[in-house]
């Protein structure tokens, strides 16, 4: 394996993506050729990257690529160490499958939109994500990060004739650059504290010079917080998430799968790298902050998802929820580290990283199957679906598997990582050295339990309203199953949810070897013994997904056997649903809104739903006989109404006030310059700077 994987392969991967990007631009005139070039290059490039990533992960031999330049700070070094290899594997896996899906999927954009443009940005997008997680140097990282943000922005506004997409894109663009400002701040402060630009040299520099003036607790705290905010915006933590539910639905669905499945994980990647590899042991308050944000993100994410009836927005809110679950693992790992419990910290970090992989798989699966539904029915409104299981059976099975996995139902993969997260939180209750910490962990367990219960409710709603019962609109009856390549890609992901669960001990073991390359865990005793198909934690907790799957299969077979054993000869008749004597119409089925309404009513203290009702009468003068009665319910994201709107108003007001000094008179401007100079002289002569 080691002989096969070299830095040449990595360069080769990048060349393939470049070829795909440039090729699809050159062949822009013909949608057929440019679509084929763009998709094939992306597929081959991602498959090669998948080989490299998993090869490095298994063989434990990091590789490095260096692009030198004559300018002093501009040496681009890329490398794949254990952590990078894990993320390269995730990104490449999802990109491979999304590209396979694209073969059948992208055709429906023609002739309205050119496929050459899609191919160009799509290839650059995947390549930039791979560069982000392999960059070993601040400058290379920042450039790759910005390219990733820009290419994904152009993918979000790919269908530029829709006004809402442009609006979503603008919001995304602004938030990404706020995020970039915080990231640059964190990186510059790191440079100031360490004096080096290479990620690899930062950790030793911070360790050997703890008393250096640059590395004060204030400085380190600022670095941690600005990195958390900057990468948190990308990851979509609440309340910094407002771009996410708009931008993900706007992009083409295979791109949504990539954005939701892996792009937001680059934020998680950098958090892990900075918090666990570069920085020394973080203070306790920081871990608690991360844990608190994680609980808020997971609960609010799933609640807003419940109130959505746009299928892709619903999935986007679930990404926020799952980022919260990942951060529950990372936050408790940070707390354990600051308490000096590296073994527990390792389990918690493994839980977070495992959920990162799992979420990538099932979220990509859900976005791809949602994309199939949208491309067939031409609407994202769930209230117009219904009964699709009869028209798109493969898509229905894929969505069902994804829904079960994201609801953390055994025997699928979501359950394993939530189990690990629950176990680390439980260890936190026992080992938290103060009452406050134990209560914090207890609340986190309660929050996670509520979240997974609500997620199950939300996916019963989503699957039921989209695929079950009778069609609610004529578009549904014209729907067909997707082309073979798209079906195949969904089925591969569906199979992966089960395979990952059954091989969970192998994956946990791999993740353990990834984390032991971090300085913080290098001397840690193994936190669990891995037997084939079984994870045994040090605490004595055991889980075997293979066993659970086997027991479930046997039990269902037993149920079949019991019925055939006890039951007599019987007929099955097909009849009408009980209708109380009136013909059943689609309006009598439960709607997505109706399903979620009871939970929203219970949670009205948090959700703040608003209600508008209007009545039209037969005769406006005699208000006895209503002709039409309509009720509109809205739930607004609290971040928009309570945070961003006031911020927006305050900014506008501040601009108006500042605008007064710009009065158009040159004399006044000369006066400003003079006053500034004067102030500078005073400041310098007093020695303040």
């Amino acid at each position: 394996m080691t002989a096969l994987i070299s830095s040449a392969d990595f360069v080769c991967t990048l060349a393939l993506f470049a070829l795909g990007a440039i090729g699809s631009l050159i062949a822009m005139k013909s949608d057929r050729i440019s679509g084929a070039i763009g998709t094939t290059a992306a597929l081959l490039g991602s498959a090669l990257a998948l080989m490299i990533g998993s090869g490095v992960l298994i063989s434990h031999t990091p590789i490095a690529v260096q692009f030198n330049s004559t300018l002093p700070l501009l040496s681009f070094s890329f490398g794949i160490d254990a952590l990078s290899a894990f993320f390269v594997t995730i990104i490449a896996l999802i990109a491979t499958i999304a590209s396979l899906y694209a073969f059948g999927y992208i055709k429906h954009f023609t002739p309205a939109y050119r496929l050459g443009r899609l191919g160009f940005f799509y290839n650059l997008f995947i390549a930039s994500m791979l560069l982000v997680v392999t960059a070993q140097n601040v400058v290379a990282f920042l450039i790759a990060w910005e390219v990733m943000s820009l290419t994904s922005y152009f993918l979000v506004i790919y269908e530029y004739r829709e006004q809402t997409n442009i609006k979503a894109g603008t919001r995304y663009f602004i938030m990404m650059h706020v995020s970039f400002a915080f990231i640059v701040l964190a990186m510059l402060l790191l440079y100031r504290a360490t004096g080096v630009l290479d990620f690899a040299n930062m950790a030793p520099a911070l360790l050997t010079l703890p008393a250096q003036a640059g590395a004060s607790p204030l400085m380190l705290g600022t670095i941690l917080l600005s990195a958390f905010v900057g990468f948190g915006i990308k990851a979509g933590i609440i309340p910094l998430h407002i771009w996410l539910p708009d931008a993900h639905p706007a992009a083409p669905s295979h791109v949504s799968a990539l954005m939701s499945g892996v792009m937001i994980k680059t934020g998680i990647y950098m958090m892990v790298r900075i918090f666990f590899i570069i920085m020394p042991t973080p203070p306790l308050w920081f871990g608690l902050t991360v844990l608190a944000i994680a609980i808020i993100s997971s609960i609010l994410g799933v609640l807003y998802a419940l109130s959505e009836h746009d299928i892709k927005r619903l999935l986007a809110y679930h990404s926020i929820e799952n980022i919260g679950i990942i951060l529950l693992g990372i936050g408790s790992a940070l707390i354990f580290l600051s308490l000096g419990l590296p073994t527990l910290a390792q389990v918690a970090l493994i839980a977070g990283l495992f959920h990162t992989l799992n979420h990538a798989i099932f979220k990509a699966l859900l976005f791809l199957s949602a994309g199939s539904v949208v491309s067939q029915t031409h609407t994202r409104d769930m209230e117009h679906y219904g009964g699709l299981i009869k028209y798109m059976p493969v898509t229905a099975v894929s969505f069902l598997v994804g829904a079960m996995a994201i609801s953390a139902l055994p025997p699928l993969n979501g359950f394993v990582s939530e189990w690990l997260t629950f176990q680390s939180l439980f260890a936190g209750i026992i080992h938290g050295n103060s009452m406050t910490l134990s209560i914090a962990f207890t609340l986190a367990i309660g929050g996670l339990a509520l979240t997974s219960g609500l997620a199950a409710a939300c996916f019963v709603k989503a699957f039921g309203v989209i695929f079950l019962a009778r069609p609610r609109s004529p578009e549904v009856t014209h729907a067909h199953e997707m082309p073979l390549s798209s079906q195949l890609s969904m089925l591969i992901l569906a199979a992966l949810t089960l395979i990952v669960a059954i091989k969970s001990s192998f994956i946990a073991h791999t993740l353990a070897s990834v984390t032991t390359t971090f300085g913080a865990f290098s001397n840690t005793v193994p936190s669990f013994s891995s037997q084939p198909f079984t994870i045994v934690l040090n605490t004595g907790s055991i889980i075997s997904m293979a066993m659970i799957a086997l027991v479930l299969i046997l039990a269902v077979l037993l149920a079949l056997w019991i019925v055939s054993l006890l039951g007599g000869r019987r007929r099955v008749e097909v009849g009408a649903t009980w209708d109380c004597g009136t013909p059943l119409t689609p309006r009598m089925e439960i709607t997505a809104f109706g399903f979620a309404h009871s939970i929203i009513t219970v949670m009205r203290g948090i959700m703040r739903p608003t209600r508008q009702s209007s009545v039209e009468y037969q005769d406006a003068n005699i208000r006895y006989f209503p002709a039409e009665h309509s009720v509109h319910f809205f739930t607004h994201d609290f971040a928009t109404t309570h945070l961003y709107r006031p911020l927006d108003r305050a900014l506008a007001r501040a601009s108006q006030i500042i605008g007064r000094i710009q009065n158009g008179s040159v004399n006044a401007y000369v006066l400003y310059m003079f006053l500034t100079l004067l102030a500078l002289f005073v400041v310098i002569s007093l020695g303040i700077i």
């Binding site: 219904g386 009964g387 299981i389 009869k390 953390a408 139902l409 359950f415 939530e418 629950f422 439980f426 209750i429 026992i430 009452m435 134990s438 209560i439 207890t442 367990i445 309660g446 339990a449 509520l450 997974s452 219960g453 199950a456 409710a457 019963v460 709603k461 039921g464 695929f467 079950l468 019962a469 605490t539 907790s541 055991i542 889980i543 066993m547 027991v551 039990a555 149920a559 079949l560 019925v563 006890l566 007599g568 019987r570 007929r571 099955v572 008749e573 097909v574 009849g575 009408a576 649903t577 009980w578 009598m588 089925e589 439960i590 109706g594 309404h597 009871s598 939970i599 009513t601 219970v602």
Partner: protein, 308 residues
């Protein structure tokens, strides 16, 4: 010996669960000054349903046809993974979170089957069921974690073992967690004050609304699964919160017989308590139920804090 124990472990719940339901019904009948049906009536009902013809809605998909087998199978899987009579039937599926996950799997499929036929009843039944299930999960998980904290293991067999060894019955955190678990039990098994298992009045039913379209053998499986879940929760309550009588690993046959008798007595007491409770309180309004469930969650948190 081990084989015998395994057969007991697998067969005990499905064989006895109709009796538990029948006993509850006849005790309730006594409370209402009726003679009521025989406690064995549910067996006859199941036998009758298993031999009936079946009508399936033309709107139903394969989900509706498959769901009863998955739901019933899941209750069998749960029955195989919890401590019942003896501690020797340990496997790798005994973690408390596996129990919670399997319960969620069962609820998920019943709710899907409720929506599948497109009747208004099934849909709102599923909606209410998922609302209750999601708010119950916190109370259920936290009350089990309170037990796990007291016995420092998350393995249900380990908890049962440690509890029966300690023999502490009247420890405050245990009682508080027990009350919380009891509320979760009533919610999960769809008893009063959460749901009325006897009703077919459209506006009040939850579980019955979801299985309204089922008939014949599939209805039998659904009813049987609900009965299994009832006895499973009673068994969990008996073995985790009233910790005595469970046979240790490798115990002799006579010890297992004694533990079986103790198990029956505990189950009888629980059934009587539930029947008495159902006869003495009214069903709560649906939007009052989350308050009760949040109370249960807070009780579990208090139990955890007390157990620290």
């Amino acid at each position: 010996m081990t084989t015998l124990l395994w057969i007991l472990q697998l067969a005990l719940i499905p064989l006895l669960s109709p009796l538990a339901i029948g006993l509850t019904r006849s005790i309730k009948a006594r409370f209402q000054n009726r003679r009521g049906a025989s406690p064995l009536q549910p067996y006859c009902d199941l036998w009758k349903l298993l031999h009936k013809d079946e009508v399936i809605s033309r709107d139903a998909s394969w989900i509706f046809r498959v769901a009863p087998f998955i739901v019933f199978g899941t209750t069998l899987a749960i029955a195989a993974s919890i401590p019942l009579l003896s501690l020797s039937t340990r496997t790798h599926t005994n973690d408390l979170l596996v129990l919670v996950g399997l319960l969620a799997l069962e609820t998920f499929w019943i709710a899907l089957a409720g929506i599948d036929v497109g009747s208004p009843f099934g849909g709102f039944g599923s909606s209410r069921q998922m609302m209750l299930a999601s708010f119950t999960e916190g109370a259920l998980v936290l009350s089990l974690f309170a037990l796990a904290l007291m016995n420092s293991t998350t393995d249900l067999f380990g908890i049962a073992e440690a509890q029966s060894m300690s023999g502490h019955l009247f420890v405050v955190p245990l009682i508080v967690a027990g009350i919380s678990f009891g509320i979760a039990l009533l919610a999960e098994t769809m008893r009063y004050p959460f749901d009325n298992p006897a009703t077919h009045l459209e506006l009040t039913m939850i579980h019955e609304a979801m299985v309204l379209e089922y008939s014949g053998p599939r209805l039998a499986l659904m009813e049987w699964a609900a009965a299994n879940k009832y006895l499973i929760f009673i068994a969990l309550f008996g073995n985790l919160f009233l910790p005595f009588g469970i046979a240790a690993a490798g115990a002799s046959l006579s010890v297992i017989c004694i533990s079986a008798i103790i198990f029956f007595i505990k189950a009888l007491i629980a059934v009587f308590a539930i029947a008495a409770l159902e006869s003495s309180i009214a069903k709560l309004r649906i939007f009052r139920l989350p308050d009760l469930l949040f109370t249960a969650t807070v009780l579990s948190i208090i139990a955890i804090v007390l157990a620290l």
